[in-house]
């Protein structure tokens, strides 16, 4: 079972999105001073049987998602704004997107209708980069002012095991990758 882990700070966070959007090229989102927490949330279903009482007779893994929490002490507000818009399916600034707007649109990564964001984290301390392939911001950024000019922004990301073929060509679902160590270019 995967476990929660931390990416050592100070980490540089970069993002990349669809090819015709504001994140078409790899953009520096900001610098995280503290550790970045990566939480796996594996989903389970219990099989309960009358013959087996109130405890599960079997457990079925129902995939899972990953939450990434970070606090940026320095960030690019334009890139952050683009991330917020892309996480709403490409909504215009100050607008919500249309109801039922999908993020993946059954399209490949970085295609023009795929609004998932590639979240790249470079940690110079550990020297082991992380790339979460399909992410979106799961909550609005929270910003706290620090001092007179600076502010820190707290971000929550959600990475899902997205695929354009969840049925595996009719053979059933197969494993999907959530993150790897190859940074986007």
């Amino acid at each position: 079972m995967p476990r929660d882990f931390f990416i050592n700070g100070e980490s540089l966070v970069l993002v990349k999105g669809r090819s015709n959007g504001p994140l078409a090229s790899l953009q520096q989102l900001g610098l995280a001073q503290q550790t970045i927490q990566v939480s796996w949330q594996t989903q389970y279903d219990d099989f309960t049987l009358d013959a087996w009482g109130n405890v599960p007779a079997e457990v079925q893994v129902r995939l899972g998602i990953v939450s990434v929490s970070m606090a940026l002490i320095h960030f690019d507000p334009d890139v952050l704004e683009a991330c917020v818009r892309e996480s709403q399916g490409g909504a215009a600034l100050g607008c919500v997107t249309s109801a039922s707007q999908r993020l993946g649109n059954n399209s490949a990564r970085f295609s023009t209708t795929n609004y998932f964001i590639g979240l790249n984290i470079v940690s110079p301390v550990a020297g082991r980069p992380y790339r979460f392939l399909y992410t979106h911001m799961s909550s609005s950024p929270v910003s706290w002012p620090l001092g007179t000019q600076k502010s820190i922004v707290q971000l929550q990301w959600r990475a899902i095991p997205y695929t354009t073929d969840p049925y595996g060509g009719g053979l059933g679902a197969t494993a999907a990758q959530i993150w790897d160590r190859t940074l986007d270019t």
Binding site: E10, L12, Q28, G30, L31, Q33, I73, H74, D76, V122, P124, L146, G147, T148, Q149, K150
Partner: protein, 215 residues
């Protein structure tokens, strides 16, 4: 030349101490700028013996409450060409208060400047600008420090505060520099060329009562 300057300082102090003189009887040493006319004034050596002896800061001895080491003036003398003048000579508590006012922004700029961020260069410039504001230094073109020296000054002051915090001293006895008129080797931190940062020799009597920088 030094003897003449000292005599001039005594003379100025005596003038200020006379009844009906200026309300501030303690002239700052930095204000004493001898002019060629003053240096050749023939009456100065004659007046000097009648005055109370002056301490190294130009004050009468009865007003010398602290030795130079006890005053704990922070000094930074980066010049290596034999010029003994210090570019920074300030009350460390005043410096600390200036730093405290911008420490959050400054620390963030330091981190960004040291990161591979695209804004690292901008942050480095901001760091140097803030340091020059804290230490009230002009740019290099106007006689101040280079950017590298500003960072060295920052490290030097941090080491100075670290030494104060830890109560570092070379001796448990008080400095014997009172009335010497010249800053002793224990009064000022060494210049960067002669020692590593952090090797500032600070008298124990100087660092003992200072505890605020640790906050």
């Amino acid at each position: 030349m030094r003897r003449l300057l000292r005599a001039l300082a005594r003379w100025l102090v005596s003038l200020a101490a006379e009844p009906g003189a200026a309300p501030n009887p303690v002239p700052a040493p930095a204000v004493v700028t001898p002019t060629p006319q003053a240096l050749v004034a023939p009456t100065l050596p004659v007046q000097a013996p009648a005055l109370p002896p002056a301490g190294p800061e130009g004050l009468p001895e009865e007003m010398e409450l602290y030795t130079p080491a006890e005053r704990g003036i922070y000094r930074y003398c980066p010049r290596h060409d034999g010029d003994p003048s210090c570019l920074v000579r300030a009350d460390p508590m005043v410096l600390w208060k200036r730093i405290s006012a911008v420490i959050t922004d400054l620390s963030i700029d330091f981190k960004v400047a040291a990161s591979p961020s695209k804004d690292a260069s901008t942050a480095h410039t901001a760091v140097v600008r803030r340091l020059r504001e804290i230490f009230q230094l002009p740019p290099f073109e106007e006689g101040g420090l280079t950017e590298s020296q500003c960072l060295d000054l920052w490290n030097h002051f941090n080491e100075y505060c670290h030494a104060v915090k830890n109560g570092f001293s070379q001796s448990s006895t008080r400095s014997n520099s009172s009335g010497a008129g010249e800053p002793s080797s224990t009064d000022a931190p060494p210049t960067p060329s002669s020692s590593q940062p952090g090797s500032a020799a600070i008298d124990s009597s100087t660092v003992a009562p200072v505890s605020s920088p640790t906050a």
